[in-house]
Subunit: 308 residues, 2 copies
């Protein structure tokens, strides 16, 4: 009889397969190749980070897999559980396997994309005290083309609907709430889907859902880059892209739980911060002129909308 | 008989005077002028932010005064007190007056400088439950000239010694510990002085000390910029400066308590983030070549030294 694979093993296989698939698709579009770093973590596990820098289409593309285990401090447990200021139980064994990617195209008309899918266990391997899936994918345009946002959301809605028709509305809203730069009163981008601590049905069903989501990334994003990558642009367009990338940095360093969790639990810094843009700008009290394309992007980021 | 001024009033006068003095000195060196924004805070108080952007010497120079009051949430109290995860008493009235400045020169051979001096009260105006002074000044070179670090430290040591010979060694160490980018295992720069929650003697003595420190900023920093501002540099030097500015962003957004306090208590975002560099870069897994000037800077940032 076949021994069933544990969820740990299934998840690791899936994220490694999707890393290959996604990197191949990006390389076909870009014409340049990823470099790979395989790293190990002292406490247990490791990962494979792939980076494409100064490509033809992508200024920076990072696609990471990590499969790590060890013991979580109080602080790490709190960050993992998404709680603040509450004392965790502390020193719990944990396991996490995930795929994480951020793509920064050169062309300011092509949006940044991010995706992350992960499986998490707390407690002993044989008898985990809790487990969950988390993840999502979202789009961050500097210049907003409605059809791009609509396409990205439609692909994700179709995937969600195949598993549960309640998923898309719930995870779309969660995404808008999560990727929010509170001090700016702006969303990071036009959203997508986001979910965390998902364990409300059997793990196999959720694994199937997360797998579908990961498979949806390329069809959701690459057609957008294909149609924007050769759009002519000016230095002013590039400038606005870099100012928006500054906001991306603000979100990732101040609010993103994955970044915070990774840095606080001694993750591999270069892999975690691979998400940061190659160049970002800040300009004091900058306001795009009324009626401009830049002002329109900002306006929509200040009040998330339904794209479907 | 003369009515004595409260510490609130004395501190506000001092920081406003020092803002003028410092801006005038910078304008004389740069040849360009600051713009000024006066802002008010709904809850109470306000500030004056001054910015010089794309000057002849400074790519970005921000010199802020803020004099604010209101009510602190639990979270705000924790941040102000420098405690993490401990429940604060919450909803305390507070008052804070401070001078805060960050200067980013164009020339990569000229270091970034930061200074901040503040007075804080918790509780009712007539009977504050606690009060303290905080502040310091530190230097962040991309290229390290020992004589610059030594000069900066010497000026600050002389000021400290005039008030208490125990101050410099204590505040120098505190500075090294505070401006530490834990996830990188690097100091932000070559330090200077830093102190917080200082209330171990009468407020007048501490006010005199903090005033001396603020007055020391120009003699500590400007001679360094004067001797570096016209150094010839290459695109590679500029690139290294921008990578180091990326680290500056990491520190300010992840670790700096002042930034966190400001953003969490609804401070004026543009004034708080005036500290961020105009341009910052990130490059995956970048290592300067062995024996280079860049490698030497990094080496010293990894093991803080005594400069005097």
């Amino acid at each position: 009889m076949l021994k069933l694979e544990t969820m740990r093993v299934q998840m690791e296989k899936m994220v490694r397969r999707m890393q290959d698939t996604i990197c191949e698709a990006i390389e076909r579009l870009d014409g340049r190749c990823f470099r790979e770093d395989v790293w190990a973590r002292l406490e247990g596990g490791g990962g494979t980070s792939r980076l494409l820098q100064n490509g033809n289409v992508f200024e920076k593309a990072g696609v990471n897999v990590s499969v790590v285990s060890g013991t979580l401090s109080n602080e790490g447990t709190n960050v993992a559980m998404g709680s603040d200021g509450v004392s965790g139980t502390g020193n719990l064994p944990f396991f996490a396997a995930g795929l994480s990617l951020v793509l920064h195209p050169h062309n300011p008309m092509a949006p940044i994309a991010h995706a992350n899918y992960r499986y998490f266990e707390l407690g002993e391997k044989a008898t985990p005290s809790s487990w969950w899936f988390g993840g999502g994918s979202d789009l961050t345009p500097a210049y907003l083309f409605d059809e791009d946002a609509t396409h990205f959301h439609r692909v994700h809605k179709e995937v969600c609907d195949r598993h549960d028709s309640a998923f898309y509305p719930r995870f779309k809203k969660w995404c808008d709430e999560y990727f929010y730069i509170a001090h700016r009163g702006e969303s990071r981008g036009v959203g997508g889907i986001f979910f965390d601590h998902l364990n409300d049905r059997d793990p196999e069903s959720l694994f199937a859902f997360v797998t579908s989501c990961a498979e949806a990334f390329i069809p959701a994003y690459l057609p957008i880059v294909e149609r924007r990558k050769d759009t002519p642009f000016t230095a002013q367009h590039k400038r606005w892209q870099q100012l928006r990338r500054g906001r991306y940095v603000e979100f990732n360093l101040i609010y993103d739980r994955g970044t915070s969790f990774g840095l606080k639990t001694g993750g591999r810094v270069e892999s975690i911060l691979i998400s940061l843009p190659p160049v970002a700008c800040w300009e004091y009290d900058y306001h795009p002129s009324t009626g401009s394309q830049e002002a329109r992007t900002l306006e929509i980021l200040k009040s998330p909308r339904e794209w479907l």
